[in-house]
């Protein structure tokens, strides 16, 4: 039976094959991303060990720095390793936008409510 879901003329289609030349280019990109992810991890660990947690503005900035570095790592994993960056635009947005929308709301409402509970605890302790 002929399959109707076979995608042609796309870089990750079933019938798409990479030549040795293309493979070399792709591998070079992958190695570069590997080095980048490793370096970011080393920086994160260094930051975690080196900086003092004393509840000051500086530490809050470092914390934000961790989250930014994590987001960068996540973006490289999703866009390059999972090659979502090479998929068609509509698939990319169907995956990313609903997730981003839900999770940002969840984080906002969760942390906001959590802090409100803490305030109550401090008052009624």
């Amino acid at each position: 039976m002929e399959r109707d879901d076979l995608i042609v003329n796309d870089s990750y289609a079933l019938n798409a094959t990479h030549t040795e030349e293309e493979g070399k280019k792709i591998r070079k990109k992958l190695y570069n991303v590997t080095i980048l992810l490793t370096v970011i991890t080393i920086i994160e660990v260094f930051m975690g060990v080196a900086f003092k947690r004393n509840g000051t503005f500086a530490w809050e900035t470092i914390k934000l720095g961790f989250i930014v570095l994590t987001a960068v790592k996540a973006a490289y994993i999703v866009l390059v390793f999972m090659h979502l960056g090479d998929e068609r635009k509509n698939l990319k947005y169907v995956v990313l936008l609903p997730y981003a929308l839900f999770i940002m709301y969840l984080i906002f409402i969760g942390l906001y409510e959590g802090l409100a509970v803490q305030e109550m605890n401090n008052v009624w302790r």
Partner: protein, 345 residues
């Protein structure tokens, strides 16, 4: 990479003659599954954030809790978990190389790189088993204070500092003493002090082996530790791991709040924090992630055997490698966030 840059008209995309997403059904469903799984993990990590933000008590600090390495003594903050992260990133790279080899229909390449990925997965699982074991056994244990007190403690630099400890503060034991005490509580057949009233009928009195007989009431620490898992830097002073000895040590030891003694962590007690949710979340989130890694390794092995058997040569394409690759990268992706929120922040 060809294809993806071409502009397609809406009619071509949504006209019904082809897949608008340009991917096969299986790959699309893998993406949908990963979105829903990502929401599960997102929910768990957000729940962790809610509990942490709603807590007024100090939360344990990753680099103080996770500072051990197998086979070596000493303090190596975050080194072990950094190694685990590195192992998982490298296994993600070998997986993407397997996918790339698949696109060149390079059977031996696929088998080689997928094999390395499986090895990396086993290394990660083994590391996590050690990590859990260390977390469960703890390093010395501790107890909470029944009454507030003021003690003189010594900083690592040797400087003395006055500490005001509210009731409920954690005081920790040194590893060697703590393990001996835990052993005495569990196996040294002398009745522990708090059970003396109803344990004195003689049935607990006979020790199994004479050399293990330790009277728990005789065990007294020479030194206790303050701020073991909570980092404190105040007024430029490093108030981590303060040691208390002498008279103040005896005072602290006598001020134990009953039933607060904890060694390591389980689902009822933990030595790391006032909040039991701390260890519960650690067990649940890293355990759930570890289970994903485990199922990923199993799936990888199955597909690896299929590749060796030449199944994908017969099919004419290696898309299965790509699909399981998506799952494996997702597992790595989750770990990146677990690493940040459980260990770093």
């Amino acid at each position: 990479m060809a294809g993806h840059t071409q502009q397609l008209s809406k009619d071509d995309l949504w006209g019904g003659n082809s897949s608008p997403f340009g991917v096969t059904y299986g790959k699309m469903m893998m993406w949908y599954f990963l979105v829903s799984d990502a929401l599960t993990f997102g929910g768990l990590l957000t729940a962790y954030g809610v509990i942490r933000h709603s807590s007024s008590d100090p939360w344990p600090v990753g680099e103080q809790v996770f500072e051990a390495l197998p086979f070596i003594h000493g303090s190596y903050p975050l080194m072990y978990v950094a190694l685990m992260t590195f192992i998982l990133i490298i296994s993600s790279v070998t997986m993407v190389l397997a996918v790339e080899a698949g696109h060149r229909k390079d059977k031996t390449g696929v088998i080689k790189w997928l094999g390395y990925t499986i090895i990396g997965g086993f290394f990660f699982l083994g590391s996590q088993a050690w990590e859990w074991s260390h977390f469960i056994h703890g390093s010395g244990g501790g107890f909470q204070l029944a009454t507030p007190m003021t003690v003189t403690a010594e900083m690592e630099s040797g400087e003395k500092v006055q500490m005001n400890l509210p009731a409920g503060s954690w005081v920790h034991m040194e590893a060697e003493f703590g393990h001996a005490y835990e052993h005495a509580m569990e196996g040294g057949h002398a009745a522990p002090a708090e059970h003396a009233e109803h344990g004195g009928h003689g049935e607990h009195a006979a020790p199994a082996a004479e050399e293990h007989h330790v009277n728990i009431a005789d065990l007294k620490p020479a030194k206790l530790i303050l701020n073991k898992y909570t980092l404190e830097h105040k007024d430029g002073k490093d108030l981590r791991k303060l040691s208390v000895s002498g008279e103040d040590c005896e005072k602290l030891w006598a001020a134990q709040a009953e039933g607060t003694m904890a060694f390591g962590a389980n689902l009822h007690k933990n030595e790391y924090a006032v909040q039991q949710q701390y260890s519960n979340f650690f067990f649940f989130v890293t355990g759930f992630h570890g289970f994903h890694v485990f199922s990923g390794v199993v799936i990888n092995i199955i597909v690896w055997l299929m590749a060796i058997g030449g199944e994908f040569e017969r099919r004419g394409h290696y898309e299965t490698i790509e699909k399981i690759g998506l799952y494996w990268h997702f597992v790595d992706l989750v770990w990146v966030f677990v690493f940040t929120f459980f260990y770093l922040v």
